[in-house]
Structure formats: structure tokens, C-alpha cells
Symmetry: C2
Subunit: 458 residues, 2 copies
């Protein structure tokens, strides 16, 4: 921001490479005061970033030197691997202090993926009331709305007027840090409507809440998936939404920040699964990462061996016409890439629920047609190139026909395979890629070498 | 929700396949009342979903039958292609009515990607004040904070007390639909702090805003990128943030829903670019989609031809040992897949700004090491398999060595190429994939066939 006449407040500092250097210098010098001076003005998310970016021994030295000043908020900003590592090293009293500062949904987020003994340590650190709340949340299934919600809910009985609500809000000390709506409940704790704070504030004290409340709110059940919740928040632009138990009673509330985090995680997960890397984190060790990726590559190896088997069937054809060996990867690669394009679109269409009975047929037909159009285009291009280069028109025809066929196959495989996996309740992002490239490899090699055998006369 | 003693309000209806069928039946029968009866209770986002999922002629018939009741909110929920198509068909008076209902940020969102004549129609439909606001927003660069912000801001002078602010809020009619913070400004309109509505409501009327306000807020400049904004909202869990002009004066406010939409778009864009499909939409026509994908596939074709050229260098080797033709795609494919894994992680690490000077070296080293470890693993596996199957230990050694080398190359290429593109200000998600597989294909074929030529004695 440029200088101006009156004082313009500075934005809070962010962590830069220089900050990381200053932190490491303080840690190396064992200078507690210097360390605190650098870290203290930072947002917990920036402190977490620094902890993630330095090496494990540096991290250990930092935490030891920093001592009791590690904030609960920093813990909940850390990625899982680093967090577990740090929690394991914290003395009980520091951990206990850190955890007590958090709201229950953050404690749940912190504890849910931990091993039992670690989780036990976290739970022991809490007050009785908070522990019961966290334990109850942990009973809901992983990735459920129950896990995502916070239990600190601001409710108002339906017979209240605006004045009652405002007096109540002024009186209560425990209110959650961020809340945007008052939830109006029946005597049996069924949510009846919501009143936004803006609306509450702008209405006369005597107005009954019943008259103000929005009855068109969307509620979630504790056992609904976080994916459902994220999808609805994004689609309907929700800011907060009540969560109800099986009897329709208010159990908690989900706010937009948690829902959007869930949405971002879903998209990120699709992206990583399409790329063949599951849930690995940037701070994971070499051994862990190598092991996870090895599994995925093994699946790909089986695919590649299958394709090699197909090629093996045509050894004699290749021996008598060795240009085929150079050209065959082109056929497979064009099919594989076209299949990946269709697949990417199909996986996201499924994730964003954009495919329905009314457009599914059109979508499949369109992908086949796109494959055909581009297939014919590349067939012409490649056919002419190969025919001229190898001075053999038949070779041009063989590669052109094989490419066209493979790209049509790619279009259909790219949409039908994710659809099939979705029907089988397997995440299409996880496995579709291998299946699609297997099909385009096998079909591509088979069509190209088979046609070549027929047309080149051997 | 299960039945209970007192009345539990139903969640609002959502669009299902049955809804789409009912809509299409009404359209086919030309039954305006039936159409309105189905659409009226739906959220604009659901109506937009239906419009996107039906075919173009059905869409046209629906819009004509629905007539003047098309809501501005529906327009702003539509994906670009469908939206432009519908706007083009709407009569001026319907369009004008629809657009006037929207807030300025939604109008900007609607108009920014339109062709000039369409944009002109939208602008003409607005009141003078709104038109000026929208035109000013459109002057900010695409993907800038200025485009994302809304101009309807609730400000309070710094000398006010809580009572002044509450009276002001009660008095004003024009307030934006959703706002969470009051922005306290200096006489020169510099933002000095923010007061959340919850805080405002819970404080005594006499309390000066200066005492309540949070001075630790984060402000954005109008020319900052939306990516920056989305990143900061996500990282610091912001709910709303002021946007200032070059002189530090308040120009607007960005709220979490818009920021999170921008974040989701960034991730989705990375995913699609990694999959080789740019900005295509599900409702795009066959010709448009075929054209866009063709360009990308052409780049891949050049890669494949390069790889074919490498294979062509070793024609004699292949002719005398045709098993190589079957095995060589395995070497290339293992490298390609390992490279894609590393690439996916690197692209996302860059996007989430998780790579810094302090962990970059460690990251590159780790990826190389993971390549080496898995390379040796697969080398052993493949070496033994190939050696046994073809009864030739030398062939096992050749494929083992080539796979190991290619996977190390994949590890380094997968991280260095996106890093290099980022330095060159090219989106790593867009182009890295082709470069990485080109390198692993060329290196893989060259290493495998070259070694084979040396070791198998020809």
C-alpha cells in the first residue's frame, strides 16, 4: 500500500523465505527470545507452513526451543504427518494447554486420523464437557457431516422476539468465534428456521423471531457425507447450515469455511488420484512415498505387460516390416491421450453431478463423435506423413485406420469406464486411468499390427 | 428426516431426474402453468442445472415458454456457453428485469466473458449507478481482486460508537444481502479495522467502534490476482476482506463465497489442464470440443513422432531381436507414469505455495531418490521376468538398467519441468505433462534400445 495522508494500517506479516531463515538461525543459535520474536506476530497458518517446510531435525529443535508456547491453532493447521510427529514429541502439559484452546470441531479434525494412543492423549487433555462432545463426534463415520459440524450452536426458542435474542447474545460468554445465523428451534430442538445476524440487528426489538426467520434453510443429517455437504454449500451458496440427528433434532452446525475445505479436498483428491498419487503429503518421507507409488506403478506394469503380450503376437510382422515398431507407439499414445481427455471430463462431470438421465446419452454420443472427428483428422495427417516418409501408401492407410478406430474406442472407454466404476461404488478418479490406457494400448497395438499383417501381406 | 412429534420443516426441493422429466413434459405440451409449477419452488442453481442438462432445442423451447419469469439469479448460475446462448435469445425487457435484480459483482461475473454487443445489452439494462459500478469493475484486469469484489460495502466512520452503527444498519435499505463485517474507515476512506456483526451486537451501545475493531485484518489491492485472494482466504480462514485502490482507499469487499469459488476454479483448472482439456464445458458442442482437444493432441503427436524417430534409429537392432519391440513400451510407460506422479505432486505444491527455498532442494532430491528406489524395485522384477521368459539374462539386465535410469529421469523431470515453467510464467499444469512424457519416452527408448544394441552384440 502506498503512503497517504492519514495512517494506513499494515496488513499482518506473512512467512517468507527470509522468515524461515530467521527462524532457522534462531533455532541453530538456541536463542529462545529471537525465535519467539519471529514467530509471535505470525498467523498460526504461517507458523504451520514454516514447520512443514523445514527438515525433521530442524522441526524437532524448533519445537523443543519454543517450548510451551505452541498454540493449538498451529496444530490444527499442520498437515497430518507433521502434526502427528509434533504431537508425539510434546510434553503432556503443553499438549493439554494447546488442545484446550480449540473448538470441538478443530479437536475432532486434529484427533480423527490419529492412532489410538495419541488420540487418547488428546482426549485426556480436554475438559469433561469438551471430551464428551469430541467423543460423540468421533462416533460418527469418517467423512460424515457429524464429523464436520461444530457442536457450539447458537439457538433461540421459537417464542422469542429479537430483543430476547440480542439480550441472550450479550449475556453469553461461550459463543463460538464465528457464527452467522441464529437457529430457531422448537421445544423438541427441531430447527424451524434461521435468522441471519444482519437481519436480527436491523429489526425492531419487539419483532418475533418467527416472523423474521428464513424457513427455506437446508439442513443436513449427521450421517450425510461431507461430499454431499460440500456440494450443497457450493451449489446453494450457503453460509451455515444446521445438522440434525436421526430424529430431526439439532445436533450441530456446519459453517462455510469447513464446507469449502471439504470441497477443496474432494477436488484435490480427484486431481491426485487421476495423477496416480493417492493421499501422500509433501512432508512424507522417501520410504513412505516410494511404497505408495510403487503399488500404483505395479498396476500400470501389469497393463504394460499385457500390451507387450499383444505386440509379441505380431513378432513376425514386425520383423518383416520394422517401421511398424517405430509407428506403433504413436497409435497407442494418441488413443491414450484422447482417452485421458474424455476421462478427465467424465470424472469431473460425475463429481459435480452434472450427468443425469437426460444428458448421459448425449454425453456418450458426443465423446464417441469427438473421437471419430479427431480420429479422422489425425488419420489423414498421420496417413499422409507415414505414407510419404516410408513411401508406402498401404502403411499410411494402416496407421490412419488404426488411429481412427483407437480414438473412437478412447472416447467411449473414457466415459463408460468411469460411469461403470461409479455404479460399482469405486471412485472413478482412482482407477479409470489405468483401465482406459489399457484398453487404448491393447486395442491400438492389436488394430495397427493386425491390420498391418493383413494389408502388408504377411 | 423421520416423523416426529412436532412439525419438522422440509428442506427445499432439489432437481432430480424426475424434475427434468416433468419440465420436459410441460415444455413439450406447451403448458406454461405446469412449467412454472415445477420450476417456481426450485433454487436458481437447480433451474440452471436443468437448463444445462437438456438439449439446445429443448432449452430454447423452455425459455420461450417460461417467458418473462427468468430470474437474474438463474443467469448467474449458468455455465458460460449456455448463459450466452440464453442471453442472446432473451427479449430486452426480460433481460433488463433479470439483470436489475442482481448485485454488481454478479453482473460483472455475468458480463465479463461476453462479446462486446452482448455486454453492451447487459449494461444498458442497468440503472445508471449500477452501470457505472459495473463498468468500473470491468476496467480491472481479468482475474483481479477488483473483478471479484462487490462494491456494496457497509462502512462506519471511526468516530462512531456501536449505537451509531446499529441505528445506521436499521435505517439503510440498500444493504447487501450477505455481509459479516462492518468496515471502519478513516475520513479519507482508508480501512482502519473490521468489526464482526456478532461482536457489534454483543457490545454496549456506547462502546466506540475503535475499541472493538480488529486491526489485524487482511486487505487486498484491486489489482491483486484472484489466485492470491483465494489462497489467503483459504489459508487464513477469512470470511470477508476489504479491497483497496492504489491509494489505499476502500474500493469494495470480497466475501468468502466468492473467494472459495475462485479457489475451486483454480484447482479445477489445474486438474483439467493436467488431463489435457482446457476450459471446455459440458454443454459445449461437438465441433468446439473436437477443435480444442485437437490442438492438445497435436502437441502430443509431435512428441510421439519424436519418440518414433528415436526407435527408428535402432531398426537394425529390433529386426535382429524382435522381443525388444514388445518390451520397449514397458520401459517408456513406467517412466511416463512415474513422471506423471511426480509432476502431479509438484504442480500442486507450486499451486499451494508449499515449495520454498528451504525445502526445494529436499523435494528435488526426494523425487530423484523415490525414482531410484522404485526403479531398482521394478528393474529387479522386470529383469527377472524378461530374463526368464526370453531365456536371456542379458535382456533382463538391459531392461532393468533402462527402467531404473528412466525412473530416475522421470523423478527429476517431473519436478524440474514444472519449476522451470513456473519461472517462465507459464502455467505448469498446462504444459508439463507433454514435456515430461516426451523426456521419459525419448530417454526410455534410447536407453533401452541403445543398451540392447551394445549388450546383445549388434
Amino acid at each position: 500500500m502506498s503512503e497517504t495522508e492519514d495512517e494506513v494500517p499494515e496488513s499482518p506479516p506473512e512467512a517468507t523465505d527470509a522468515t524461515v531463515d530467521a527462524v532457522l538461525a534462531a533455532v541453530e543459535a538456541g536463542d529462545h527470545d529471537a525465535l519467539v520474536a519471529v514467530l509471535e506476530p505470525l498467523h498460526p497458518a504461517d507458523i504451520a507452513d514454516i514447520l512443514e517446510q523445514i527438515s525433521r531435525p530442524e522441526r524437532r529443535a524448533l519445537v523443543t526451543l519454543w517450548g510451551g508456547e505452541l498454540d493449538g491453532a498451529v496444530l490444527s493447521e499442520l498437515e497430518e504427518g507433521v502434526r502427528d510427529e509434533i504431537v508425539a514429541e510434546l510434553p503432556d502439559d503443553v499438549l493439554s494447554q494447546a488442545v484446550q484452546e480449540l473448538e470441538t470441531d478443530d479437536v475432532v479434525y486434529l484427533a480423527e486420523d490419529m492412532e489410538a494412543p495419541q488420540q487418547e492423549r488428546i482426549l485426556r487433555a480436554l475438559d469433561d464437557a469438551d471430551r464428551v462432545a469430541v467423543e460423540r463426534s468421533l462416533q460418527y463415520g469418517e467423512d460424515s457431516a457429524g464429523r464436520l459440524m461444530q457442536r457450539e450452536v447458537v439457538v433461540a426458542p421459537e417464542h422469542w422476539a429479537v430483543g430476547n435474542a440480542i439480550d441472550f447474545l450479550r449475556r453469553e460468554e461461550w459463543l463460538p468465534e464465528s457464527f452467522y445465523d441464529l437457529i430457531v428451534v422448537s421445544p423438541q430442538m427441531h430447527p424451524m428456521g434461521t435468522v441471519s445476524l444482519g437481519r436480527l440487528m436491523r429489526s425492531a426489538r419487539k419483532t418475533p423471531l418467527r416472523e423474521l426467520m428464513d424457513e427455506d434453510f437446508r439442513a443436513f443429517r449427521v450421517d450425510q457425507s461431507q461430499e454431499d455437504v460440500a456440494y450443497a454449500f457450493n451449489k446453494y451458496h450457503l453460509i451455515s447450515a444446521p445438522v440434525v440427528d436421526a430424529d430431526g433434532r439439532l445436533a450441530g452446525v456446519i459453517t462455510i469455511d469447513d464446507a469449502m475445505e471439504a470441497l477443496e479436498e474432494e477436488t484435490e483428491e480427484d486431481l491426485r488420484r487421476l495423477g496416480g498419487v493417492g493421499d501422500e503429503e509433501l512432508s512424507d518421507g522417501v520410504a513412505e512415498i516410494a511404497r505408495r507409488r510403487f503399488l500404483w506403478l505395479t498396476v500400470n506394469l501389469l497393463t504394460a505387460i499385457l500390451a507387450a503380450g499383444v505386440i509379441g503376437l505380431f513378432s513376425d510382422t514386425i520383423r518383416s516390416f520394422v517401421a511398424l515398431a517405430a509407428l506403433m507407439p504413436i497409435v497407442a499414445s494418441m488413443g491414450g491421450n484422447a482417452g485421458t481427455q474424455t476421462l478427465t471430463v467424465a470424472v469431473r462431470a460425475l463429481a459435480t453431478r452434472s450427468l443425469s438421465a437426460s444428458n448421459l446419452g448425449r454425453f456418450i454420443g458426443r465423446e464417441g463423435l469427438v473421437g471419430l472427428i479427431n480420429g479422422v483428422g489425425f488419420a489423414a495427417l498421420l496417413g499422409v506423413l507415414a505414407g510419404l516418409y516410408f513411401r508406402d501408401a498401404r502403411l499410411g492407410m494402416v496407421i490412419g485406420t488404426a488411429v481412427t478406430g483407437n480414438m473412437v474406442v478412447a472416447g467411449f472407454a473414457g466415459v463408460l469406464i468411469p460411469l461403470g466404476l461409479e455404479k460399482l461404488k469405486v471412485d472413478p478418479a482412482l482407477a479409470s486411468g489405468t483401465f482406459v490406457t489399457t484398453i487404448t494400448d491393447v486395442f491400438g497395438f492389436f488394430a495397427f499390427l493386425g491390420l498391418a499383417g493383413l494389408m502388408l501381406g504377411r
